[in-house]
């Protein structure tokens, strides 16, 4: 009788202490990164900001998140096939845009 009682008490003790250990866990490894890219709209906005800076004080417009360099305008010949159908403006001016961090 005493033996059975002792076994029962021991079992209850194990169950009580073992319950906390039964909190089973599982882990997952999550990898992440942010790769910066520039959408056309972002570049366009930065170009406009840059162009506006030439007309207004530097502090009047927000700084772009990246640097835009507008080089000297150069003449660029467009598709020759369209020259005959177009006005002298077929020779239009293009702008070299450099985007850097």
């Amino acid at each position: 009788m005493l033996r059975a009682l002792a076994i029962t008490l021991a079992s209850l003790l194990i169950a009580a202490t073992g319950f906390a250990q039964d909190r089973v866990s599982a882990t997952q490894q999550v990898s992440f990164a942010v790769v910066k890219t520039y959408s056309p709209s972002m570049i366009q906005k930065a170009i406009e900001t840059k162009q506006n800076r030439t007309k207004t004080p530097l502090n009047s417009s927000p700084a772009p998140r990246f640097k835009v360099t507008l080089e000297t305008e150069v003449e660029q010949h467009r598709d020759i096939a369209h020259v005959s159908t177009q006005r002298p403006s077929a020779f239009q001016k293009a702008t070299i845009i450099t985007v850097t961090d």
Partner: protein
């Protein structure tokens, strides 16, 4: 003469009684040898198990939206399964280290036996937070795990990094 006869009868009765007692004891002994008893102690202990199908794919943000809000990517390629013989359990989640400034990592666990807490922000959940509550005894298999990684538009380049997410089933 009669005394002698009475004496002999007494002796005979004692012998018979002795034999009878011997037979009775023997039969009891023989019967005891034919039967054996064991006492069994039966018990079902509380059991709760949880497992995941693997790791989610890399969460890489490479789209930028001018003037937009959070930019985010998600992954729901993994699942979890659990079994428990207890009532009113819950699943909690924690992260081993906070996420970088300007970024957020969120998790969403579906559940058929409990109530999902929806999308939960784990970015700073070093201490466990509830993701599923009220899980009753039974088995739940292959429930989707969705991770959402978001970054503020002004967040600069963040090289590849990782965090360990721990899912625990508890009271």
């Amino acid at each position: 003469m009669q005394t002698a006869i009475r004496y002999l009868r007494q002796i005979e009765m004692k012998r018979s009684l002795t034999i009878a007692v011997f037979i009775l004891v023997s039969s009891v002994t023989l019967k005891a040898q034919a039967t054996a008893t064991q006492s069994l102690l039966l018990e079902v202990k509380p059991v709760s198990k949880i497992a995941v199908s693997g790791n989610p794919g890399p969460l890489v943000i490479n789209d930028a939206v001018a003037g937009g809000d959070l930019v985010s990517v998600s992954d729901n390629s993994t699942t979890y399964s659990l079994m428990t013989n207890l009532q009113s359990m819950k699943i909690v989640a924690s992260i081993n280290a906070p996420m970088p400034a300007g970024t957020r990592l969120m998790i969403n666990l579906a559940s058929s036996r409990g109530v999902s807490a929806g999308t939960v922000d784990l970015s700073h959940a070093v201490a466990p937070v509830d993701v599923v509550r009220g899980v009753n005894k039974g088995v739940e298999q292959n429930q989707p795990v969705t991770y959402i990684f978001a970054a503020n538009p002004d967040v600069q380049h963040i090289p590849s990094d990782s965090r360990t997410i721990t899912l625990t089933i508890s009271e």
